[in-house]
Chain length 751, copies 2
């Protein structure tokens, strides 16, 4: 009865507070999408860009699981195909290809206390997830576990059977072997501590502790901590805890160690609910407690869940789609949902955050500090999408990036919790910032940004943290292959696109010399063009092309000379700033189109990685060939994106694949960051209404209307903007953000 | 030149401050005595009853060592016969048979930083130790390491060669597998942290963190922390630190884990000295820092060393011996030195200390809080010796014990760092306190003490923490053998002596009924007397004696029914409160003396353990047989006590064997705690001057003069007190503490 009342109150709450009550956008989000097939998302509960997510952790401790973090490269706390759960982790990455975080695990159990995940874990049943909410049954115990979150806290509600029940806090588990934690039981309702994180991508560099405070809705009747004891030859004869987990009842000092944790024991009635709220901080335990104090709803689970739902509905309501199937809507809104996870805030409620590249604590109460920038991925489409739909957040992300430069001397590349992980290559902060600047997001320290970009684009020598091979790049115009499997061409291709963006920035800032210089650099990619193959091909120090060139080498993540995570095929068209120039090199439009079509026809395309994700839109650059874009995009959407756990073709890469599908289903794509033209394709939905942010854009709403007689009509017959027919299938950002109406008239055949 | 000047200043300092300059008592201390042959002392630097000792730690990491803590029961940080050093530990136990502590290790190295003890360790050479000072060369590095201490701090001085030098702080090593530590680099001259301790005797119960702050005399040029990474199947393919030590340069947050540490790197000139001061606390890091601030001499090593020497000279000067060989003097003063190590203070400079049996913090600025009470050992002779020579300290020990009762509800048995370890048996706090009370140390909470003793002597049931088998003891008068190898007789024998003491206390407090009751209980030992063997023999629940009784079973620590760490032979005479009664049971003086002589003649005596250490003095109870005491004591001194590392026959047991030799060489022994009569034997020295504490005793000095013509004269012809011949070879505590002169006239033959 109480539960029904609560649900009723919740509904009233929506009716009063939200004008979007009709549109439960969150109903079209399936958080399980991407949680199989290496999408590496998880169905955990969180709010948009929250520091905390509470995710089921089921990748350890049992042969019942298909994937085990300890036996293979594994980068997510959750795998949809796994069944054996060992807890719920409170800081997690979503859609990332490298392991990290997945720590601070809570786990409810019953019976005898046992802290060994191999023993205390349980089969999961009846999982359910909505934005801001996750639940599962723990079969072994008859416990229902539900969770929700605020920005910096997680809340869990456990419904226990009658008997002796426990809540375990396991600080030993995590995705990497970066371990070490401390716990301190404050009293019978509170515990605090810290956990080491790091070893992102199994590399050094991202190490930093995360701090927490956890509070229970009910005072524990007993409690204690545990520690896995090291094995010792002498001990084995004498100590019954040698190499075992040792329990320390009533132990209240700090307990430090590799595999430590704490248990709180309660005598529960049938269906008794006990709640836990966990505050997190990357600054200190004091800040974790502050975050908890500021954001706690005092164990009101329904209120926290409702607030999370409201936040998600608000965020998702920026785009309203009509028409299309429920699956298509779900694919769309889940993708949009996945763009709202990273970058996430890392500042505490008081504005404090860890400075980039050090352990200093800074404070900024003017804007949120964002973290988790997978920029090699996200510069391509994610940040343009953010500029269009969420310009305020995008601006704060750029401000965060520029603050990182001020703190560490360099813009970020792959930033994680205020550490540069140096993962992937290039200088991707440049296109992110320049693209947004050109879109009108200019309220940041422009001079500092330019200075930062100029520094990485011009600083010679080994101390250039972003462009390690800048010397040969500047000297020769390209990066020669120096080691068998170096990523020299990939490096250079990233520098070209960055320099082209920097040129646009210089131009906008009336720095004519710089404009010319960087524009020229950006076009030096041509040095890699090998006429024999009609492709980009690695060159050696002496200027010659690499012998034994196999353009397909690099498929399926095999090592490849010159190219990183891809083949020459997947990189050759990766000069989006000079498609016409590349076409000219290749011998003109026909040859370009033929070659590009071959990529799709011969299965040379990789939908699961970034270097080629703009490929299908390149046909649109050539009059009369636009239908190929429409056809291929349509096919790729249908083939690779599903309303199912395996509905993302590979690592979501912090929302990059999700941004691709959001854009593509809306019928537009930002082929080249820094270039304000969107290439158009046929939208999936009949009507798409984009709410434009009045603080940034003159228009209020952009409506995209699609006229078609059947789903088979996938080809564009005509596009009108405010009644006027476009003669090219491109639309400029400035025009789009004026709002108004874009109408697509589709047809069944491209001719 | 500077060094010479310092030495000169040091000498002046002594001349001015110490009236005992003529007698460098410390010259007669050899801290290596007891560091082989399982004496389990160590040569580390410390001040009397200091919380900190800085000991070489050489029991790990190399096959070059004879004894390795990880491959056998090992209870000391140091073994004289070992050669491979892995650091200098800052909290240590001395003369204890169970492993514990041996943590917070500093180690100077040179060259490439390496934190693996198997690699960074060094052969030791040119060791030297004096009270408050230890030094060794580290052969591998050409480093001289010297150390000294104050009560709560250690100071180390490392003399480096020219080049890159390091000081490692290894928090992973320790004597038990109780591990887990945290370190936090505060700045380039300071580090703080904590280290878990516990698993004393490989049991649970004594767990508690110890906190520290370390400061360097020179700012480090670089620094970092390390952590041994757990091994992970997946990682092994990708991470180069998997299962290895990972170094975190410039890492300044807390680093927690099982095997963590920190390094500080310096560029050193030839013979450059860098000093480290380490403050320790069992309360908090803040208190460790306070202790360091209060006691530091600001890296003045010579001053700290000199202060330590002065403290030791002061303490040792309570007894001045003349005559005897240098070896004999050294045996004597080293033993006296070993009585000044435990119990040690555990309170911080502000009076704070951890409460007994909990993690509460208490504060007491009126008296020192003592810890490390090995009472089953020390009640026998150590505390009577402290009452005689150091009554102020003994009183504070008693006050500490009574405070433990107030904090935890029970008097201590084997207390370690404010935890009851429940090691060995009995109720030994009773004889310690009663004995001292009867000697005139009465300024403590007598009522609380009586209440505490009454509680453990009368509380029935399993909740009696000191007397787990009290029910059958009270019901039957003895403890029956219930399991094959239980220690039932040993338990009961301890209860008898405790109850006899409690009876004396009741009598002194005019509690006549209690006196009668406990006196009666104390004599119930007779139930164990088996006329067939003329010995104490285990009895079963049905009252019958144990079958298959072998009075020699239990030798060499083999398991034995009824007796703990000993044989029936070694326990049969362990009723010192009723020697006459036992004699009567045995059939009179002749049979008693015959049986007792057999113990010595047939090698049934164990000099290395406590139950029988009073045996040689029992002959003195029988007129005409006293010469046997003189003979056996003389023989035992000569046989078992040497000025050599193996100069203590077994675990010193926190000064118990040392107290035996101190008393025995002075010609007197307190056969039964609570009985104020000392049994006399022939002194080793020609003149012994005991300074009596005027706050407690009427006399100022007691002089013991021994007249003999040759060392062969070991038998007593006559003893005079202040010119008056004694007619029995006993002297009462009250008479002794009046001071005056006792003269022994010796002879060569006992007849």
């Amino acid at each position: 009865m109480q539960s029904l009342m609560k649900r009723f109150t919740g509904c009233l709450f929506i009716l009063f507070l939200s004008t979007n009550c009709f549109a439960q956008f969150t109903d079209y989000v399936n958080p399980f999408i991407g949680s199989a097939n290496f999408g590496t998302t998880n169905p955990g509960a969180l709010v948009p860009r929250g520091m905390v997510s509470v995710s089921p952790f089921n990748v350890s401790g049992s042969d019942l699981n298909t994937y085990d973090k300890d036996t293979r490269w594994w980068s997510a706390p959750y795998a949809f195909n796994n069944v054996y759960l060992t807890g719920f982790s409170h800081v997690n990455l979503s859609g990332v290809g490298c392991p990290e975080l997945g720590v601070i695990l809570l786990m409810p159990t019953t019976g005898q206390v046992n802290a060994d995940p191999k023993i205390y874990g349980s089969i999961m049943e009846n999982q359910q997830a909505n934005p801001g909410y996750y639940r599962t049954d723990l079969k072994k115990y008859g416990i229902i576990a539900e969770m929700s979150a605020s920005k910096r806290t997680g809340i869990s509600r456990y419904t226990f059977p009658k008997g002796e029940s426990h809540i375990l806090l396991n600080m030993g588990l995590g995705l990497t072997n970066e371990s070490g934690a401390k716990v301190r039981i404050v009293n019978n309702r509170e515990i605090e501590g810290s956990r080491m994180t790091g070893s992102f991508c199994y590399n050094a560099g991202s190490e930093r502790p995360v701090y927490f405070v956890a509070r229970f809705s009910k005072a524990a009747e007993s409690f204690g901590v545990w520690k896995k004891m090291p094995a010792m030859q002498a001990e084995s004869a004498w100590s019954d805890t040698d190499g075992q987990i040792k329990y320390y009842q009533n132990y209240t000092p700090e307990m430090c160690g590799d595999e430590v944790g704490a248990y709180f024991t309660f005598s529960t009635e049938e269906k008794e609910q006990i709640l836990v709220e966990v505050g997190v901080s990357y600054v200190s335990i004091a800040n974790a407690r502050l975050n908890l104090d500021m954001e706690s709803n005092h164990f009101d689970f329904e209120k926290t869940k409702q607030e999370a739902t409201t936040q998600w509905n608000d965020v998702l309501s920026r785009v309203k789609v009509e028409g299309g199937t429920k699956d298509q809507k779900t694919i769309f809104y889940t993708a949009l949902y996945h763009t709202q996870i990273h970058p996430n805030i890392i500042n505490d409620a008081n504005g404090q955050y860890p400075a980039m590249g050090s352990f200093e604590i800074r404070e900024n109460t003017k804007h949120d500090r964002y973290s988790v920038f997978s920029l090699w991925d996200t510069y391509r489409n994610f940040h343009p999408l953010m500029s269009l739909l969420y310009p305020a957040e995008q601006l704060d992300m750029m401000r965060s990036m520029i603050d990182m430069y001020k703190e560490s001397g360099w813009l970020p590349k792959w930033e994680l919790n205020s550490k540069e992980t140096h993962v992937m290559e290039g200088d991707p902060a440049i296109p992110v910032i320049v693209d947004a600047y050109l879109r009108g997001l200019t309220d940041f320290d422009v001079e500092a940004a330019y200075q930062a970009m100029f520094k990485s684009a011009t600083t010679e020598g080994k101390n250039n943290k972003l462009r390690p091979d800048i010397d040969s790049y500047l000297e020769k115009g390209f990066v020669p292959l120096k080691e068998e499997f170096d990523n020299s061409v990939s490096h250079a291709l990233e520098y070209y696109i960055a320099d082209w963006n920097l040129a646009q920035f210089a131009k906008a800032l009336h720095k004519k010399d710089d404009y010319k210089k960087f524009l020229k650099q950006s076009l030096a990619y041509k040095a890699y063009f090998d006429k024999d193959f009609g492709m980009l091909r690695p060159r050696l120090e002496d200027g010659s092309f690499l012998n034994d060139f196999n353009p397909r080498q690099g498929e399926n993540f095999e090592a490849c000379p010159g190219f990183h995570e891809g083949t020459a095929w997947q990189y050759t068209f990766c000069v989006p700033h000079d498609i016409k120039g590349l076409s000219k090199l290749m011998g003109g439009k026909q040859k370009f189109v033929h070659k590009l079509q071959k990529v799709f026809d011969d299965n040379l395309f990789d939908m699961a990685n970034e270097p080629d994700i703009h490929y299908p839109y390149l046909f649109t650059y050539f009059k009369g060939e636009e239908w190929r874009t429409q056809k291929e995009v349509h096919r790729l959407i249908d083939t690779y994106f599903k309303n199912a756990p395996d509905g993302i073709p590979g690592n979501d890469d912090c929302g990059t694949l999700s941004s691709w599908i959001v854009y593509s289903m809306m019928g537009m794509y930002p082929v080249c960051p820094g270039n304000m033209n969107y290439a158009l394709t046929s939208p999936v939905f009949d009507k798409i209404s984009i709410q434009l942010d009045p603080e940034f854009y003159p228009g209020k709403t952009l409506e995209i209307i699609t006229h078609r007689n059947s789903p088979e009509e996938i080809y564009i017959n005509e596009v009108k903007r405010n009644g006027k027919t476009l003669n090219r299938l491109f639309l400029n950002h400035a025009d789009i953000t004026k709002g108004g109406k874009i109408e697509f008239q589709l047809k069944a055949h491209h001719k």
